[in-house]
């Protein structure tokens, strides 16, 4: 009789192996189940992409959870409670949990407080504070402004001043803190990024631990003066990016996020753990495959690839540090359990490349096959252009080559513009205006694509990161086997081809493309 072997693809080695010989990860004695049974969690940023999946996962995986308090910001005429019901409980990632245990079942185990990071004590009143002080054991902060290049002041409100208020709150509650930051606080670096680099005084261009040029206090004073003197929002935006670049950060977001971390790490007696996710992408399995709502993910690139962009300036030997959002949620819960047991480390990278890297040229290939599929079956648009986009493959190019081809395109467009304007004089505006208009639209589209691509260049070609993830691996190993059934930290099992093609790309087409199309329409009318 034939032996029916169950083959299992090993995505790291790129070959099949026997599924029955997979070793189980080591387990330890910290029980996340026990921790959550006896401890109360306060969650900030529950309306965000990560926050909602995290919330959904806690409710789904830990029915014995003692209590969860969710802080939600009031928005105009909507109270925090209303937003919790409509924007959180009514959202797709919560649907399966709501269906299973019902809104009442969730409200039995959760409560909502209205608050705002930008106010002292996060905007909580004395009465609420007194009540929470008796209850809350750990604060998870996943709130943050993730826009790469907002005006400096806006970024600081949430990512720096918000953290100051957060620290006061955690002190007042006598609780522990799990703070969600980003791997990219490392700044413009290349190679393996360790987790044990000292946080206080860090800046990417730092020459060593003795280099004391960067000091958050002094830096804040500088920022405040700069913002006071700068009236114009655009100048404030550029100023933020320039200041970030001066120290070696790639944008205002990572610069302010690092300052937030430094405030936390510099606070004496604070029991904290900082979780740094890499680029957070569509969910792999939970709450369902392909859930995505983040625009600061690789979504713009996938959408551009779908539009038929062919030349991609990426490193041939570098990985893209992407990670599915459900792994992030699981990772945060693992760290929270370790923090509650007071056996955590200061920093946890949540990333994939150190164990299971997906190289950039592979992603460019996926963008190519997706474009082929889309343009073959596209019903509208120019048929010849569709064929071109369907049968010409994406390619990896150097920045120099990209610049040259951009220049050629610009010359071509300039030539057309001149020709159309000339014809307008001869043939009249009525005939030529539609052509000129479509030329304007094409120009704008190309400009937008160039801008999007430029924003991602630091991640694709200027730097090549591999974030070390030994700490989360160690924390996962401290949890019990029972916890491992509920929370999976298994980046080595991501089959990138299946994930990118069948989960991530489809998730973006389903959840992000409509959002993006609305934004474009709004821009067209505006």
């Amino acid at each position: 009789m034939i032996e029916l072997t169950s083959w299992r693809y090993d995505p790291v080695r790129g070959e099949y192996g026997d599924a029955d010989t997979q070793p189980e990860p080591p387990a330890g004695d910290i029980s996340a189940v026990d921790q959550f049974r006896s401890k109360t969690v306060l969650l900030l940023g529950g309306t965000g992409f990560v926050g909602k999946v995290l919330l959904s996962m806690v409710l789904d995986r830990f029915p014995e959870l003692k209590h969860l308090v969710v802080q939600v910001r009031r928005r105009r005429n909507m109270s925090g409670e209303e937003r919790f019901r409509s924007e959180i409980l009514g959202s797709p990632p919560l649907r399966s949990v709501v269906d299973r245990i019902g809104v009442d079942g969730i409200l039995d185990r959760t409560s909502v407080v209205e608050g705002d990071l930008s106010f002292p004590m996060c905007g909580l009143g004395d009465e609420t504070l007194a009540r929470l002080k008796a209850e809350v054991d750990v604060v998870i902060n996943s709130a943050g402004l993730v826009e790469f290049d907002p005006p400096l002041g806006e970024s600081m409100i949430t990512n720096v001043y918000g953290i100051r208020n957060l620290i006061d709150l955690v002190h007042a509650l006598d609780a522990r803190l799990v703070h969600v930051s980003t791997c990219y606080v490392a700044g413009k670096k290349s190679g393996r990024i360790p987790e044990d680099t000292p946080i206080v005084g860090y800046y990417p261009n730092r020459s060593g631990p003795d280099d004391m040029s960067f000091d958050v206090g002094r830096e804040l004073a500088w920022c405040e003066e700069f913002i006071r003197e700068t009236a114009d929002k655009i100048a404030e935006r550029d100023g933020g990016m320039e200041r970030a670049d001066h120290w070696g950060w790639m944008n205002t977001y990572t610069y302010t996020k690092s300052m937030g971390e430094q405030l936390i790490a510099a606070t004496p007696g604070l029991r904290y753990a900082i979780v740094r996710p890499a680029i957070v992408e569509s969910s792999m399995e939970f709450p369902f495959p392909g859930w995505n709502e983040g625009m600061t993910t690789s979504a713009p690139l996938v959408l551009m690839g779908g539009e038929g962009v062919k030349a991609w300036p990426v490193r041939k030997d570098g990985p893209l540090e992407i990670i599915p959002v459900d792994l992030i949620a699981a990772g945060i819960l693992v760290v929270t359990a370790a923090r509650l047991a007071d056996r955590s480390r200061p920093v946890y990278h949540l990333a994939t490349a150190s164990e299971n890297p997906v190289m950039l040229p592979r992603l460019v290939g996926f963008l190519g096959t997706n474009a082929r599929y889309k343009h073959k079956h596209k019903k509208d648009g120019n048929r010849l252009a569709n064929m071109w986009k369907a049968y010409i493959e994406t390619e990896v190019v150097s920045v120099g080559k990209l610049d040259a081809s951009r220049k050629r395109v610009r010359w071509g467009l300039d030539f057309l513009q001149a020709a159309f304007s000339f014809l307008k004089v001869i043939l009249g505006a009525r005939i030529m205006n539609p052509y000129l208009k479509s030329l304007r639209i094409t120009r704008r589209q190309i400009r937008q694509q160039e801008q999007t691509l430029d924003k991602f260049l630091p991640f694709m070609i200027h730097n090549s990161f591999i974030f070390e993830t030994g700490n989360i691996r160690q924390a996962y190993g401290m949890l019990t086997r029972e916890d491992h059934q509920r929370l999976a930290w298994k980046p080595e099992e991501i089959d990138w081809a299946d994930y990118w093609v069948n989960v991530h790309t489809k998730g973006i087409e389903k959840w992000i493309r409509p959002m993006f199309a609305r934004e474009v329409r709004a821009a067209d009318h505006g």
Binding site: M1, I2, E3, L4, T5, W7, Y9, R13, G14, E15, Y16, R362, G365, F366, G368, T369, N370, R372, Y373, K376, H377, Y391, I392, E393, A497, D498, V501, N502
Partner: protein
């Protein structure tokens, strides 16, 4: 003694049985969608030259054909095979699905059969087909890869001919399926061993040789090819009358 009703399954072949494609059309698709137009053209010419060889081998031995055929995938990257699977389905497979296939699968499911696909086709091409039909179980071939690149070999056990029969037997014993009350559907004589394993073999869109054989054996013969969706007249007798197979109840 178990009082539970024994599990029964319906085993389906794919190519020629539920749709009209075959392994070569699938491969030809990948060949003509290579990374550049020039490479595609080269690959496609290679396929054309190979077609008579494939055809001859297929007549001689399905197993040998398979071994020879999968060698053509050597050097292809798994990313591309997966990345183009949806397009392959839209371009070649979807339109080749027989009109009556879905109704048959719905009927077997409704009558308590576990729908099992047993095919020599490759896992990545099956995925969209599975999304379309929704099988309970899929037994198919897997290419061997080294560092994500196909080696040209297939992982054992090779799903073909007598291999299919052995695999079905193993599967049935693992899952506790009663083969006597199970049924099997296929179109070609190479699957006779697979058909014979179950109590209810059905020649489905049979080749002339299989039709002759089926008539001699007294097996039902059905055609899914030209039947309008929704009609249910041509199912084999044991499906039309559930009591005929429902021995325990």
């Amino acid at each position: 003694m178990s009082t539970e009703k024994p599990l029964k399954a319906a085993f389906f072949d794919l190519d020629g049985t539920l749709l009209s494609c075959n392994l070569v059309t699938t491969y030809a698709y990948y060949a003509r969608n290579d990374r550049s137009l020039l490479k595609s053209a080269y690959q496609f010419v290679k396929v054309l030259i190979n077609v008579p060889v494939f055809f001859g081998l297929d007549l001689y031995s399905r197993t040998l054909f398979n071994v020879f055929f999968f060698r053509a995938y050597k050097g292809m990257h798994r990313d591309r095979l997966i990345g183009l699977a949806d397009d392959l389905f839209e371009v070649t497979l979807r339109r080749s699905i027989y009109a009556g296939s879905r109704a048959l699968l719905e009927e077997t499911r409704a009558q308590g059969y576990r729908n099992v696909l047993v095919t020599g086709a490759l896992d990545f091409t099956i995925r969209p087909i599975d999304l379309h039909f929704g099988f309970d179980e899929i037994i198919c071939n897997h290419l061997e890869f080294r560092n994500h690149v196909a080696t040209g070999r297939v992982l054992p056990p090779l799903v073909a001919e007598t291999g299919k029969a052995a695999i079905i037997r193993t599967y049935a014993s693992q899952e506790g399926i009663d083969l006597e009350s199970s049924c099997a559907f296929s179109d070609s004589t190479s699957d006779i061993p697979m058909l014979k394993v179950t109590g209810h073999p059905v020649a489905t869109n049979p080749t002339r040789r299989l039709r002759k054989f089926a008539l001699r054996q007294g097996w039902p013969v059905i055609t899914l090819r030209d039947r309008g969706p929704g009609s249910s007249g041509y199912f084999p007798p044991f499906l039309r009358n559930p009591l005929a197979t429902d021995q325990s109840g």
